[in-house]
């Protein structure tokens, strides 16, 4: 087990190195000069040269990369061209907002998907199944910016129940945190919930047809216990895979949802960095997203072994 984790971590490091090269290369291809953009249309050529030199943009590209990656390893992702703050502090500042949003959204997705998917699998071709299929189709088809705007119009505008924009840290004002979180979390969760609903339906249908479910019923177990321990428990393994991917996706900043709700998370940070050619911030954010994906995938794979005893990491690679 420990050997497996070490091997996976080593593989992750190689993947991250590849990602960093790619990210850096793409930044070089993006047109536009960040220093010119930061200084505005009328600027002093001397200041411009000085800033370029200070930012290391005069060095050759490979030297720039090596400088960036070596300091990244120490946690120093550089300084934002735009605000002058360190990228690390910008990311740390935004992280709680994105964690809240991703956590809230995955919760919404699970609360939609598990009951709806299970019910529709238990009653195939019934009205519930019909409703689940239709609503998950709708949830997938509706763009989240539109859904977000509708929520703002209804719940923030007409009804005035919830704020339309912004983020409040949890420890400053728990109620405000929840109020600011609710609409973005539902907006982001609907899409994931729709994907997961279909997935829950198919994996529950598969689990329900297994011979051991018949054995469980033949023992005289109560229907609820059969469902919990022989159907849902077995459907959990495939569910964790897709759920993990959805969580990683949500954690990597739901750019559009954060933008619509002016929610100060990582997605918005990355979006602003693209607009202002703020290379260090964008590089840092993309690298962080890659780390998040790798970590969640590792956690998902380790969870398998806990959920299904037939999976063992001792001898396999």
């Amino acid at each position: 087990m420990t050997g497996y984790v070490l091997r996976r971590l080593w593989q992750s490091a190689v993947v991250l190195l590849g990602v960093s090269v790619l990210v850096f290369a793409i930044m070089q291809l993006v047109p536009g000069d960040p220093i010119r953009l930061a200084l505005g249309t009328r600027f002093d050529p001397d200041t411009y040269e000085a800033l370029r030199a200070r930012s290391g943009l005069d060095d050759s590209v490979p030297v720039q990369y090596v400088n960036w990656i070596t300091s990244a390893l120490t946690g120093d992702l550089g300084v934002s061209f735009r605000s002058g703050e360190t990228v690390t502090s910008l990311i740390i500042e935004r992280l709680p907002a994105t964690l809240s949003l991703a956590g809230g959204a995955i919760l919404v997705a699970i609360l939609i998907a598990v009951p709806l998917g299970t019910l529709s699998a238990l009653r195939p071709r019934s009205p519930v199944d019909w409703f689940a299929t239709l609503s998950s189709q709708a949830g997938l088809s509706v763009p989240d910016f539109w859904l977000g705007i509708m929520f703002i119009l209804i719940f923030a505008g007409t009804l005035g129940w919830l704020p339309s924009a912004g983020y409040t840290p949890l420890f400053e004002d728990p109620l405000g945190w929840a109020q600011h979180l609710l609409l973005p979390a539902v907006t982001a969760g609907v899409g994931s919930g729709s994907i997961l609903t279909r997935f829950v339906r198919s994996s529950v249908l598969e689990a329900i047809g297994q011979d051991h479910v018949r054995t469980a019923r033949a023992k005289g177990m109560r229907a609820g216990d059969v469902l919990r321990w022989h159907v849902l428990r077995n459907a959990l393994v495939p569910f964790v895979t897709v759920g993990g991917v959805q969580l990683a996706y949500l954690l990597s900043g739901v750019v559009i949802v954060e933008y619509v709700f002016a929610y100060q998370g990582l997605g918005q940070l990355a979006f602003q960095a693209v607009q202002s050619r703020d290379y260090p911030v964008l590089q840092g954010a993309v690298l962080l997203f890659a780390v998040i994906f790798l970590v969640i995938n590792l956690i998902v794979d380790l969870t398998y072994a806990r959920l299904d005893p037939r999976i063992s990491y001792r001898s396999s690679r």
Partner: protein, 339 residues
Amino acid sequence: MSPVLSVRDLRVAFRTGGGLARVVNGVDFDVEPGETLAIVGESGSGKSVTSLAVLGLLPQAVTEVHGSAVFDGDELIGRSEEHLRRVRGAGIGMVFQDPMTSLNPVLTVGRQIAEALQAHEKASDRAVRTRAAELLGEVGIPDPQGRLRAYPHQLSGGMRQRVMIAIALAGNPQVLIADEATTALDVTVQAQILELIERLQGEHGMAVVWITHDLGVVAGIADHVIVMYAGRCVEEAAVDDLYSRPSHPYTRGLLSSLPLLDDPRSARERDPLTTMPGLPPDPVALPEGCAFYPRCAYRLDDRCKTEVPPLAPVAAAAENHRAATFYRIDAADEPEGQR
């Protein structure tokens, strides 16, 4: 003695895309306390469906069940799920064919036995664990205490089937239904499982219903045999009568397709094994008359084609040996091409 399980005119049909599939078409049988009844037939003859229908284990949405199944004085067909739940495991236990897929791969053996114990009575975790280990010991699993923590994939096929039997025994049932319980196992292991069930039957005083396609298995263990074809009982008899005087053409076909290990004749003198031509009928489109008519070597005339032969005594002397055929086989008259 009154039978512990009495099935009358049981009919099961599945609603399929192609129409109504009539899988069981009026089956009657009695299971006496402590006896061994064998239900024999090829795949698709309705033998497994019969047992699942009795316990209400078929998918309700697509199944139509009619007739009667009285267990211990209590009608089971058409009863509520909760009523049937109390009978499952505690009244009638079941062992299924493939112990790999019939056990849940992600739960320990101990837990799966415990579920069977807790389904019918409340008991402390400790008592349940002790009882589960006792059951594993009873079915011949070494180190029962340690094996409680094993997962099904860590056991051999024979051991898994022993676990299935332990689960079926947990509710202390009056009837044990073994549905092709040895089919998926190696021949040597089959013999061990047969022996085990026979021993447990004696110790617990259970009746056992063996559902199998293998007449060889039946010979050694059954008291009574029912032969099923296309969802009907075509012959029933005490086991010795069935083997000495098979009276339905289908039963004769089944028996003549079995190799005899103790045949005194040399290989050259021996009759070649015969196979029955044709396939069982499609349950969506059953023939109007006898379902075996298209494959029957003894078929008579239009009567077999248009009329379903009733199950009737084969001779005045043998009231309990009954066959559903218009043709009365006498020892001498074998048609051309058979034997």
